[in-house]
Amino acid sequence: MDIFLQQIVNGLVLGSVYALVALGYTMVYGILGLINFAHGEVVMVGALTALSVVNALMSAHVGVPAPVIGVAALIVALSVCMALGFLIERVAYRPLRRAPRLAPLITAIGVSIVLQTLAMMIWGRGYHTVPPIIAPTPHSFGGATITSVQILIIVVSALIMVGLLCLVHFTRLGRAMRATAENPVVAGLMGVNINRIISATFLIGSALAAVAGVLVSSNYGIAHYYMGFVLGLKAFTAAVLGGIGNLAGAMLGGLLLGLIESFGAGYIGQITDLCQFGFLLHASGEIAQRCSGNSSLPLFGSNYQDVFAFLVLVLVLVFRPTGLIGERVAERA
């Protein structure tokens, strides 16, 4: 099996999910200039809702065909998440639109805690296994394997992203959204109903989050109440990496971050293997002893995978705060 090609496949799958979630962050940020901290929790709610629907339909013993179950779960998850996103904006962000910057950020954290705790109460603390709706048939090509679920993830996210770009660039709603992002006051004067546009943004973002939640949980086969937090952070990193407020940037950033993570986790053990540094073997008898034979002694293992995203975030913010293809200046104080 070709490890290099395999890491590319894994990275692309992971990256498409990050990209979907990152789009939600970037759209809200572009229009409101606000980091929607609770977005990751919406992904989690989407995954767990879909899981409940699947479990209910499967245990009903009525012989519902698998694709129907999948579509039904997706539709329920979509509607729950969209309602949730709409509600979050109404309750936690809209009243604070003119408040100091810190205020909506703090309510966002509050919403995130409430959602997580509610999810913990509804679905429990444990990990849930997601029953395979689509059989994860492995296909191999060029030495790497890709399952049908992973193919589905890449195809669905690609379709959604193309659709979203078309929506934003070629429809009336999209034009209104771009106008609001550019300057809400002037857009309002031109007859754009800003509140409706903001609500629409949250609805679209939450729908993407629901899809991402369903995809990611069916890929890993597990879902739990805590999954939204780290996923959300990484997706935010992806959005910043690409240039926050920029749709194409979020997609690029998501894919890149996925690749960085999968390569990082795949190769960090080899790169930081202490046994390859001859001077260390001479310097320390203990290292030499532990390296004898064919063993390796990695300084950092793949359990540091989660650290990469944060390191990328810090590096991007330090060296290129506008992101890879962003035009917005990070400091708008």
């Binding site: 810190l102 950020l105 509050g110 997580q116 540091y304």
Partner: protein
């Protein structure tokens, strides 16, 4: 309290001699407090009081960063962890090093301050919400690193944490066990209480003095309008870094005391929720107001414990079973508190006068 008695109290406080008398009364009351609590509700509550004081120190430290300088730090617990681990590593059987506490607390403070600058330096050019995310990530990085730093060389002992941390020892009296002084026996929790009380008092003193100092006013100026502050000749980068380092210092000291009080540290104690809890204390009490933050910290440290002792029996009586375990209830209430305070009372329960003025004025600066 009647108005007459209130006025008499006020007159007492205005008279310098009266002020000394009331100070003495407060000190006496605070020093018999642990004995009164132990006699009435048991020793666990003295421990809860210790933790409440610890949280007060943390909240005051975070208040410097969030309240004074207006920089949202969501990874504050990282400094707490750094302080706790630097204490534990240098005062336990893990490495066999046993340094005295009066050396360790400054070491912990300095290490935490160093990390504060390390984190602050690259991020302070950025806007507030970026800072929030980066600090959040930093808190997680510290926790992940501590959890995984047991291989290939065992430094932190990984998820198991470090056991048998030396308690503070003062003049031959170990704070880890009961000692008899002047015929009165003091359990370790009581001794820690006095130590924490003194350090909290020092922290409060430093914070109030800072608030009115040149630096404190520079912080507030930056919080209000960074560009105007810069135009007034404030070196915003250095002053913000100072806020980060100062806040981290208090976190580091509190961490060391936590290690001494528990006698045990593990990565479990330094999760994101701790940062959020401390942030809740600052926000609920009143950002930037020292007395408000102390109130918020004491409230949020003690209320959940009351909840823990009452929620379960009450639910059992009402519904016949426990629907909400106290831990989830606590988180739920914290989340709701954050939202509701921001929506209804953005300046906190006990806001400072300036803060109230600016938040009730029509428009805050910096918004479009």
């Amino acid at each position: 309290m009647s108005r007459l008695r209130m006025r008499r109290l006020q007159r007492l406080l205005e008279d310098p001699r009266g002020r000394w008398i009331s100070l003495v009364v407060v000190i006496v009351l605070l020093s018999v407090l642990p004995f009164a609590i132990e006699a009435s509700v048991g020793r666990t509550w003295v421990r809860i009081l210790d933790l409440a004081l610890l949280y007060t120190m943390l909240a005051l430290g975070l208040n410097i960063v969030v309240g004074f300088a207006g920089l949202l730090d969501l990874g504050y617990v990282a400094f707490y962890a750094v302080g706790a681990y630097s204490y534990s590593l240098l005062a336990s059987t893990h490495f066999g090093i046993h340094l005295p506490w009066w050396l360790l607390l400054p070491i912990g403070a300095a290490t935490a301050a160093f990390f504060g600058v390390l984190l602050g330096a690259p991020t302070l050019r950025l806007r507030g919400d970026y800072l929030a995310i980066v600090t959040l990530g930093f808190g997680e990085i510290i926790r992940i690193v501590i959890t995984n730093l047991n291989a290939p060389i065992n430094i932190t002992n990984g998820p198991q944490g470090i056991n048998m941390v030396d308690p503070v020892t003062m003049g031959g009296v170990s704070f880890g066990k009961t000692s008899t002084l002047l015929g009165i026996s003091f359990p370790g929790t009581h001794l820690h209480y006095y130590l924490l009380l003194v350090l909290t008092a020092i922290t409060i003193f430093i914070c109030t003095r800072l608030e009115d100092s040149r630096i404190g006013r520079a912080w507030v100026a930056i919080r209000e309008d960074e560009i105007a502050a810069q135009a007034m000749g404030i070196n915003t980068r250095n002053v913000k870094l100072l806020a980060f380092a100062m806040g981290a210092t208090f976190g580091g000291v509190a961490g060391g005391l936590f290690a001494s009080l528990q006698g045990f540290v593990s990565p479990e104690s330094f999760q994101l929720w701790e940062s959020i809890t401390v942030l809740c204390m600052v926000v609920l009490g009143g950002m930037g107001h020292v007395s408000g933050v102390v109130l918020g910290a004491l409230l949020l440290a003690i209320l959940p414990e009351l909840l823990r002792h009452t929620a379960t029996p009450v639910q059992q009586q009402l519904f016949g079973k426990v629907i909400l375990d106290p831990e989830s209830l606590r988180l739920l209430l914290f989340g709701l508190a954050l939202i509701l305070v921001m929506l209804l009372r953005p300046a906190g329960l006990w806001p400072s006068r300036t803060r109230r003025r600016e938040l009730t004025s029509a428009r805050a600066p910096g918004t479009v």
